[in-house]
Amino acid sequence: MSVLDDLLLFTALASVAIIVLRRFAFISKFSVVVYVLATVLLIKMSALGYGGEAVYSSFTVNVLGQVLQWRFDALSWFFALITLVVALFTALFMSGAWGDKYRKEHSKEAYGLLQVALILNVLSMLVLLASGDLLSLFIGWELVSWASFMMMALNPDKVARKAAIKYIVYAMAGAMAILMAIAMTYNMTGSLDYVQVMQGMAQLNNSQIAVLVSLYAIGFGIKMGVIPFHLWQATAYAETPGAGAVFMGAISARMGLYALILVIVQIIGLTRVAAIEIPYTFLDMQNALAWVGALTTIIPTYIALKQNDARYLLAWHGVGQGGYMLLGVMIADSIGTAGGIMHVFNYATYQAALFMTVTAVIYRTGTSNFSKLGGLVTQMPLTFMVMVVSIIGLAGIPPMNGFVSKWLIYRALLLDGQPLLFVAAVIGTLGTILSVYKLVHNTFLGQLRLEHQDVREAPLSMLIPMLGLAIIIFATGVMPGVVLDWVAAAQIAIGIAPVEHNLGGIELVQGGLNMIWVTGVMFYGFAVGAIIFYFLGGKSKHIHQYDNYAGGHFLTSKVRYHYSNHFYAGLMHLIGGWYRNIFIKLEYALVSLVSFMSQLSENFYRSSQPAMLVAAIVMLALWYIMSADGSAPVLVQGLQGGMSK
């Protein structure tokens, strides 16, 4: 029994226990304990994070000539760590006041099912991360898909249901692409074991690799929600019940990235991918994927800008941030890959924190609609603080951790000589900054609405995980080396030179980064500013929230200083709505096509004369067969025309 066995077995047993005990009140505490223990088991494997040998599970299944096996390497360990930490914080978050309220509003059963969905998600993700060959990868992949579907389907609203259906259709399409790719891989390389497939890949020609890469990229890309498969994700995640959205938003889609790194970077190898030229373009396949990443950073981010609901805004951001990771990984040098992988960790922390703050706001006010919020900073200062820390991270501004990973990606783009991609990434970041401001402004700033006068700070049980995450965001921002250790180990595991780093940041000949220093300078700057301000006699004056003017008019209690509609009207006018509709229309066209085909087929099955079909098929089959035969008379040969093989 290896530690991996312990971990998987423990999680599986815990799932069973939670399924059985889901209706009891103590389930929320129980699940927290479960995640703590699981994290402890994971930490027992922490040697992996510092370059240790892969841990194999002693459990294998022998089926259809395949040996299914499970193992953890540094990359899996890194992702598993994020998963378990996020799950732990989520469980903590939902164990207290939020859970009580959810239980009261819905039912004990509904809350229990949320816990079940959470543990099943964690379990399936661990199984996926532990996969040791392509078949077990696929099994884990499908388990993750269905666990996510279960989580999404827990919200009985119509919008949520539709989103869940849409998700699972997309996910199935992706899974089928992966299954096709796996079947082809098996026939091309004769095995599904990672090592043997890796060796087999060397013998394949470029067109085979191109087909495989496209299929894998489509399959994994759908889960990540990259362009053009981004339409399902935001609604689905946003409509997941509160705490569920925290977990899903933070980590679920990143499983796509894990599989992508594993298969395309580690097994196929980016050098092979880069060798494939896409005809009629200047791009090779690696660049094309990088561009997909870049577009994914831009388009969903600007869609996020248009959202009028905090949950949707965050969820759209989640899609966009996935683009950075793909972009980073696709740069393929040690800095870019490190940026991409590290961004997973950073993103998970601040996205979880942001969803928690939004959930806390919903908990207190009952809405996440921007038009009905505003000015909550006086009522919920700590939540506000957490949100500010998180959006600084999200926007990639020092000293939070988001800055480090984005800096790595930018740096890699510049060093790699990709100015266009760099510009694209910057445009994406710009959109991020604009939209996170919209988030914080419309939720916490401005004037408080009358109905929110007696809103209080979020309860302690919700604040603790939020603050904990905020501390992590800041700490890993100041000392990125902690995370970079794990990232470097993961890089070694996937066969890329590890990034050179120290506790404070990156060591680079062309100019490194030391966050301790940066932070020091920043705080020094703040201190200087404050000193100057107070020294020169600057006085702050406390002004009541309602005490402000707009356009020379005093704002009455009826007209609040708050405008969430047409928030960035000018910008919106500039970019217009053109980009979004393309994809929606594309999706619609696809559905219409299926519908049309289906109607055609249905008419076929309504033939009035049953024998007609028999006659038709006999004639066509005989024709096909006789035209294929060389000895048939000339007339039959002549008939074959379009039926030629």
């Binding site: 259809l64 499908e142 269905w146 009985p156 259906i165 079947a183 006999v618 096909y624 067969i625």
Partner: protein, 513 residues
């Protein structure tokens, strides 16, 4: 071993005697049929336990004391024994308890049993035709007596299609007979490379495929499926979709392996299979009625089976058997669930709240049907995909694209139902579908009968199927070994020939040649 023949004979005897016995005692007549089914099961289990070698060794049973090819023989190998066991078991499971209209209906069920067993066991081409026709007529009759006149109309259309098909099959048999002068499958197989490996042989395959295809729900000759399944009781639909179609498929495959070695034959079947998958799933996506949806999904699944069997080599054979057996388990269970859910899917709104366990069962079944790992359906699909990708031809590449597409469509409509089931009661009005042309077509609510109660028996069947699926997951390794040996035995021509004509008979064989 010889009493395998009783599997065919005893049900026939019971069928003949039941109306006679019923004149004096109805009860005895009813028990007669059931007891024969139990005896059949007993015989097979006895054979299985007695001769452990059946796992490795097939047996040819001579009827009438005339050695093949002169006489007719039954060929018993693993797969035919398995199906011969499945026949009485499934007939027993889907016995029409609830509608005791007439003793003759039970008689028809017994005839169905006999013909199904005969079809799978028979080793003679014309004998197969006879049993196929018996199966056909028994099923036309059973469909037609389901009460409403719509069942009669559906059955008549089925009869037209089926009998034109079987005439075509007879034509095919006639062509084969003119070419070879024999009817025994093993003997034909011996002669096939020499005599049937030409255009005439292929033409007869096309004719036989069309004829058998009617019952096997092959693509263009399956337009009876939605009409018939829609108008019969779920029990019968389960039996037909689950068992009878598979029997026809297995017979087609056996003929294909033994008589028609040409690649064109495989391609023809594969092409029709692909079209079946595509159209079946597409129409199912559109249908608003649960049973109709299941019928079209059944067409799609049968298309998959044909496609799988059209892949040359071991992988295709395994995939075909796996999908066929899996569908044989799952589809009847789904039809059993449909007993409670007849009617428009919109009416299922909120079912999950009333019967959560049943809906959970439904989800497990459809997950397996869709091929979600680690349920057994996945392994079948995986084999199919690997088999498809191992071949080069245009048809296999097309199949590679169509099959995943069809799976996505199937997922979409099945989970649309699940979501409707989990909807809150009456939280929105039933969606008017766009097909409604004018008011005259809108159906009165008074006619809509949605029985929201499942029979306990049907639920028990569905639950045991689900349990079986999970048991297979837990026993993957032995199951895959068994599948491999089944596939090997089914695809081995020479083994078939040497079983029917062991060394002792060669002397006589020479004299015939």
């Amino acid at each position: 071993m010889d009493n395998i023949v009783l599997l065919v004979v005893l049900p026939l005897l019971a069928a003949f005697l039941m109306p006679v016995v019923a004149r004096s005692s109805e009860v005895v007549a009813r028990t007669l049929g059931l007891s024969v089914l139990f005896i059949s099961i007993g015989i097979i289990l006895n054979v299985w336990s007695q001769s452990g070698q059946i796992d490795s060794q097939a047996v040819s049973i001579v009827i009438g004391g005339f050695l093949p090819p002169l006489g007719i023989n039954f060929y018993v190998d693993q797969i035919s024994l398995f199906f011969a066991l499945a026949v009485p078991v499934m007939v027993l499971l889907f016995w029409p308890w609830h509608r005791a209209t007439s003793i003759r209906e039970y008689s028809l069920m017994m005839l169905l049993t006999a013909s199904a067993s005969g079809l799978i066991l028979s080793g003679d081409l014309f004998n197969i035709y006879v049993f196929y026709e018996l199966l056909g007529i028994a099923s036309y009759s059973l469909v037609a007596i389901q009460g409403r006149v719509s069942a009669v109309a559906a059955s008549f259309r089925y009869l037209l299609m089926g009998s034109v098909g079987s005439v075509m099959m007879l034509l095919g048999i006639a062509i084969i007979y003119t070419q070879t002068g024999t009817l025994n499958l093993a003997h034909l197989s011996l002669l096939a490379p020499e005599k049937l490996n030409n255009m005439l042989g292929l033409a007869s395959f096309a004719l036989i495929l069309t004829g058998m295809g009617v019952k096997a729900e092959l693509f263009p000759v399956n337009s009876w499926v939605p009409e018939v399944y829609g108008s019969v009781s779920s029990n019968l639909a389960a039996l037909m979709a689950g068992l009878l179609s598979k029997l026809a498929v297995i017979v087609i495959v056996r003929l294909l392996i033994l008589l028609f070695p040409q690649p064109e034959a495989l391609q023809l079947m594969g092409m029709l299979g692909i079209l079946g998958v595509l159209t079946g799933e597409l129409v199912a996506w559109r249908s608003r009625d649960f049973v109709r949806m299941l019928s079209f999904s059944s067409i799609g699944q049968l298309g998959l089976i044909f496609l799988a069997f059209s892949i040359p080599g071991e992988m295709g054979m395994m995939a075909g058997i796996a999908i066929a057996l899996h569908h044989m388990l799952v589809k009847p269970a789904l039809f059993m669930l449909a007993t409670g859910w007849r009617g428009a899917v919109e009416n299922l709104s909120g079912v999950a709240r009333r019967s959560p366990f049943v809906v959970l069962l439904f989800i497990v079944l459809i997950l397996s049907l869709l091929g979600i790992p680690p349920l057994p359906g996945f392994w079948a699909k995986y084999l199919l995909m690997v088999g498809l990708s191992s071949q080069d031809g245009f048809i296999y590449t097309l199949g590679m694209i169509i099959v995943p597409l069809a799976m996505v469509i199937e997922m979409a409509y099945l989970f649309k139902i699940v979501m409707i089931m989990y909807r809150k009661d009456n939280d929105e009005p039933a969606v008017n579908n766009s097909n409604i042309v004018d008011d005259s077509n809108i159906v009165d609510d008074s006619n809509i009968k949605v029985v929201q109660k499942h029979s306990k028996w049907g639920l028990a069947i569905a639950a045991s199927v689900a349990a079986m699926l999970i048991a297979i997951v837990l026993q993957l390794q032995p199951a895959s070994d068994k599948l491999l040996s089944l596939a090997n035995q089914l695809s081995d021509r020479n083994y078939y020939i040497s079983t029917v004509f062991p060394q002792i008979h060669t002397v006589r064989m020479q004299s015939i040649k």
